[in-house]
Symmetry: C2
Subunit: 114 residues, 2 copies
DNA sequence: GTATCATATGAACAGAGATTCATATGAAAG
DNA sequence: CTTTCATATGAATCTCTGTTCATATGATAC
């Protein structure tokens, strides 16, 4: 028992309502995907239209390799999809939740400005 | 010019619609807050009721110091608020956006299960 | 086939961030 | 005013992660 004062009641109540550890981890992992500027920029770019790797690299003024690495992460998480087109790889948003989640973050920031 | 094939049109279009760098960074920083399991757990705990530091530490079975450090980060970001109560510090959700954003993440995970 | 373009990938490096340990602060009880 | 409890904080450590560099793959054009 680390401390003396009693809050066991509150703890019990909250503990029962807390989701499983695994789910909370998955939730953290999901938000981690949005927690990087490069990935946010990539996702935001794909809001408008599908794009090939080198277009994104040019747009963000970053190296092709860096973009490719991040696209792999987004693809593994199934936030983006990929399609071959000649010798280029075209990426696109795989899920409309991406728009919603980023939109929510956006709204939060906007209200903070006030 | 890093590559030969032309996509300058797509780049121009997207570039115009892309928010400022600073905003995209802020967005990334916001999501970074949710991208850690400990912080997710803390926020989730505060969904139910306000809690003092040692209650959270006990609940999550983590050291008081670790919780305190994370609470500082959440407080600096104004996601949680803090109130003195005798010699304990009581923390609470400062913003209902937190519920919305985490809720969206939750929904995304649930749909993925299918 | 060979050369070239677009992308992927692995290793190495560097920076950020989370936890722990030790200690400081601050309030209340005696 | 001293002691104890609750929390905060700084430094150190260790882990994770993003970028770069070099290279591999894969497809097209010649």
């Amino acid at each position: 028992m680390p401390h003396r004062h009693d809050h066991s009641e509150a703890i019990r109540t909250v503990a029962e309502l807390l989701p499983k550890d695994e789910l909370l981890c998955d939730l953290g992992d999901l938000f981690k995907l949005f927690g990087d500027t490069t990935r946010i920029k990539i996702l935001y770019s794909l809001f408008e239209s599908e794009l090939c790797v080198c277009a994104i690299a040019e747009l963000l003024k970053m190296e092709q390799s860096a973009i490719s690495h991040q696209l792999k992460i987004l693809k593994d998480a199934k936030l983006v999809g990929c399609r071959r087109d000649g010798r280029t790889n075209v990426y696109f948003l795989a899920d409309d939740h991406v728009r919603t989640i980023i939109g929510q973050g956006f709204e939060h920031l906007m209200e903070d400005e006030k």
